[in-house]
């Protein structure tokens, strides 16, 4: 009770001052209240004018993104979709954009509904997780335009553009390059979760490694993913390493270290920002350990590790989201399913950046002819087409 006694003593000895102080407090708080009222008045007035100004010179079109639980800065598909919106604005300044993050799957529907109420010209939803929420909202609001990243609807929905990417095609090129650059004869991959959008990359990548072995009579082994022997078309099943997380970088560090301990010298994480942990481990491992980045050009999305990236196996989410947004803004939007391939540039291998000088011309030439072969359909990206390891 020491504090209280002191307070009582103080009150007795210096009562006038404390009274004055409380009066002062009262005045201050009253004036503070007044100030708030005034500033609130100013606030609404000024916001009204800015709003009016905004409406006057721009922006009848609003593009909105709902992220999945990975969040807007996952350095992966949520970030790519957002980048697509930024690109769309750069192309057409009349477009403005917003996003809403989701912390749980329960947020998807209310987030979408919030944006429908905000009269967004197009709503971009990200990930298969949001497929049913998007479908339900599209059905309930047939005039609202949607685009969903990483999903295909069968049958297609009229007011939803479903964006899907054949990343096994550029994954194949990435696997070939990894095998060509490996000195230890071992390369490794791991995924964020055992789901098709992840394993499709790993399937193509492993196929690329096997193809390299076949044509060069080499024995490079791909660790971390073993495609299932017999699969139905379009499924990407198998056994492999998964972090079951797209955020926790420590897990990426662990997986990459495990793979390197087994002798892998090129690591291909397919796990969003978990890959940053892998990059830290690869950097720590020192010279002659490399990586390939996934989804976006790593030298742009994670430039601090650019010196480690042989290349990036990218997925053209940003360009296709940009195209969808621009078409919605222009009124030429058409729903249905879009499939990104090497042919239409929807998926591609990024530039080699720091490794441009070190990658042999022969390998570069092989990649060019491989790309042509995949486009023409002469070269299969199915790992079952080639003998394993």
């Amino acid at each position: 009770m020491a504090i209280n006694d002191q307070a009582h003593d103080g009150a007795r000895v210096r009562r006038p001052r404390s009274a004055r102080r409380s009066a002062l407090v009262a005045v201050l708080s009253a004036s503070a209240l007044g100030a708030t009222a005034v500033s609130a008045g100013v606030a609404s007035a000024s916001s009204r004018t800015t709003r009016a100004a905004r409406v006057a010179h721009a922006s009848p079109f609003l593009a909105c993104e709902v992220t999945d639980t990975g969040g807007i800065d996952d350095r992966s598909f949520n970030a790519s979709a957002y980048q697509g919106l930024q690109l769309a604005k750069a192309a057409d300044p009349a477009i403005s954009f917003k996003y809403l993050g989701s912390t749980s799957t329960s947020n998807y529907t209310p987030n979408i509904n919030t944006f429908i109420a905000k009269k967004c010209g197009i709503i971009i939803t990200v990930g298969f997780d949001m497929a049913s929420a998007t479908q339900a909202a599209a059905k309930a609001h047939p005039s609202q335009k949607f685009a969903i990243v990483d999903f295909t609807y069968t049958p297609a929905i009229k007011n939803v553009l479903a964006l899907h990417y054949d990343t096994n095609q550029d994954g194949f090129l990435g696997g070939y390059l990894a095998a060509a650059e490996s000195k230890t004869g071992k390369v490794g991959t791991f995924g964020g979760q055992d789901i098709p959008t992840v394993t499709v990359y790993m399937d193509g990548w492993v196929a690329g490694v096997r193809y390299y072995d076949k044509v060069n009579h080499a024995h490079v082994v791909a660790l971390g993913w073993t495609p299932k022997k017999v699969r139905t078309a379009g499924s990407f099943a198998g056994n492999g390493l998964f972090t079951n997380d797209f955020v926790n970088q420590t897990l990426g560090k662990t997986e990459a270290s495990t793979l390197m301990a087994q002798g892998a010298d090129v690591i291909f994480p397919v796990a969003g920002s978990v890959g940053l942990g892998a990059a830290a481990a690869v950097k720590q491992a020192g010279a002659a350990h490399y990586m390939e980045w996934v989804d976006t050009d790593g030298c742009i999305s994670a430039p601090q590790y650019c010196s480690l990236f042989l290349t990036s196996v990218t997925k053209g989410i940003a360009p296709s989201v940009k195209a969808a947004t621009l078409s919605a803004a222009k009124g030429t939007f058409a729903g249905g399913n879009y499939n990104g391939t090497l042919t239409n540039g929807g998926v591609s291998l990024s530039p080699f950046h720091d490794f441009n000088a070190t990658i042999p011309a022969k390998v570069k030439a092989a990649l060019v002819s491989l790309k042509a072969g995949i486009i023409s359909g002469k070269i299969s990206t199915d790992p079952d087409s080639y003998p394993a390891g």
Binding site: R12, A35, S46, L100
Partner: protein
């Protein structure tokens, strides 16, 4: 400050008694220059649970405002020129914070303009009521899991496993949903009971482990969260649970007979889960205050040794508490699944299980307190969503505000000092516990 027990309840003869306490220390001689405020008013300026909580919320919102100011480039830019144009700087700061909080309010409760429109035209009631409906929807699982955690806390059992129990309840409810075909009148109660049973089992395990082996429930419940999370991921890609025709980790959807009906038409998502939650709040109040078993729970929480001496089987109580706590968390998982989501995917439940702990603390482990805290948190979350959609201030701000509220509530001395409150009914968070490992 345990030596002034009377201050917490300055009831009818309050003026006399509280004068007596203060006069005893301040020498009593000179009569006060003016009488203090009348009792009801004075109670308002004295520290008590309600006042401290209210001021904690107020302070958290105030600090949230500061955070908005220092993280918004436009405001910082205006503040940089505060010397040359102070009015504009304050105006920009005020408008930014004002816009953010008014967006939060209109997103969580109602928008006055929309209400006016609905009243004058008779149309648009659904749009007007959507914010409050959404707040109730997001509060529902928090209420259920919150009272579960609170019952544990007030018995001295730290159930940190609400997240895992919630997933267990959701999985069980989902299975009951798609495994059988029944009319809704029979099917829905089975789904509800399955949710409770799933959570109860997940809660019983750490309870049994503690009673049998003394394994501390904090550790076992935390670890079981991971078990459940990964079990969910496993089930989502496995035959009976996975959505047919999908190779993604998504479950089957609940048939219409297994869904909690909407309370006010299909336009508003508020559903019968809220009714279940409210009934259980009342039941929990009755249980802790009026029932023999609840009394023995409280005794064990307040003083395990005295309880044991009085013949209460502490082991049995531990197992029962965790089972009940788990059942309530399981119902929370069921309520989201059968009320709004209708399917499960990986990471189901988000942070509900952990927010439930915060809600229980803020509600001081009392059912009605938990109810109010859950409503506040639900409203903050829904309001935060609208705030981000309107003003682009990230919804993460609401997590910060929620954390600050609890921080202030947990340090009532700080609140008392800031606002110069008298009295010592501090309303601090009191955890009945026999101590770590007890």
């Amino acid at each position: 400050m345990p030596d002034q027990p009377g201050a917490r309840n300055p009831a009818a003869p309050a003026p006399a008694s509280s004068d007596a306490t203060s006069d005893a220390t301040s020498d009593a001689a000179p009569p006060r220059p003016r009488r203090p405020w009348p009792a009801p008013l004075r109670r308002l300026v004295e520290a008590n649970v309600a006042v401290v909580t209210f001021l904690s919320v107020f302070s958290a919102l105030l600090l949230g405002g500061v955070l908005i100011i220092v993280t918004t480039p436009a405001v910082l830019h205006a503040l940089a020129n505060i010397v040359s144009s102070p009015g504009r700087a304050l105006g920009v700061a005020g408008s930014t914070v004002g816009d953010a909080y008014s967006a939060m309010f209109t997103g969580a409760i109602f928008s006055p303009s929309s209400l006016g429109h609905a009243i004058s035209t008779g149309h648009g009631w659904t749009a007007t009521l959507t914010p409050i409906s959404e707040s109730l929807v997001s509060a529902t699982p928090l209420i259920l899991a919150g009272i579960g955690v609170a019952i544990g806390f007030s018995t001295g059992v730290f159930n940190i496993g609400a997240q895992g129990q919630l997933i267990a309840g959701a999985l069980a409810a989902l299975y009951a949903g798609f495994a059988v075909r029944l009319p809704i009148g029979i099917h829905l109660p089975i789904v509800v009971l399955a949710g409770a049973a799933g959570g109860a089992i997940a809660g019983w395990i750490p309870g049994y482990l503690k009673a049998r082996t003394g394994a501390h429930e904090v550790i076992t419940t935390i670890m079981l969260n991971y078990v459940m999370l990964n079990l969910l991921n496993y089930f989502l890609t496995t035959r009976p649970f996975q959505q047919p025709g999908q190779s993604n980790a998504i479950s089957k959807t609940m048939p219409s007979t297994a869904r909690l009906p909407h309370l006010f038409g299909s336009g508003l998502r508020v559903n019968a889960g809220l009714v279940i939650a409210l009934v259980l709040v009342a039941a929990a109040w009755w249980f802790t205050r009026r029932s023999t078993l609840g009394f023995s729970f409280r005794v064990i929480g307040l003083n395990p040794r005295a309880g044991k001496t009085a013949g209460i089987d502490a082991r049995r109580v531990t197992v029962l508490v965790l089972t009940i706590s788990g059942a309530l968390a399981g119902l929370a998982g069921m309520a989201s699944l059968a009320g709004t989501d209708y399917f499960l995917s990986s990471g189901y439940g988000g942070n509900i299980g952990f927010n439930a702990i915060t809600v229980a603390l803020l509600g001081r482990n009392r059912p009605v307190g938990v109810l109010l805290a859950a409503l506040l948190f639900g409203a903050l979350e829904v309001g935060g969503r609208n705030m981000q959609a309107v003003t682009n201030i990230p919804i993460d701000l609401t997590s910060v505000i929620q954390a600050l509220i609890v921080l202030f509530v947990a340090t009532p001395v700080l609140v008392r000092e800031i606002y110069r409150l008298r009295g010592t009914g501090d309303g601090s968070i009191q955890l009945s516990t026999s101590g770590w490992g007890g």
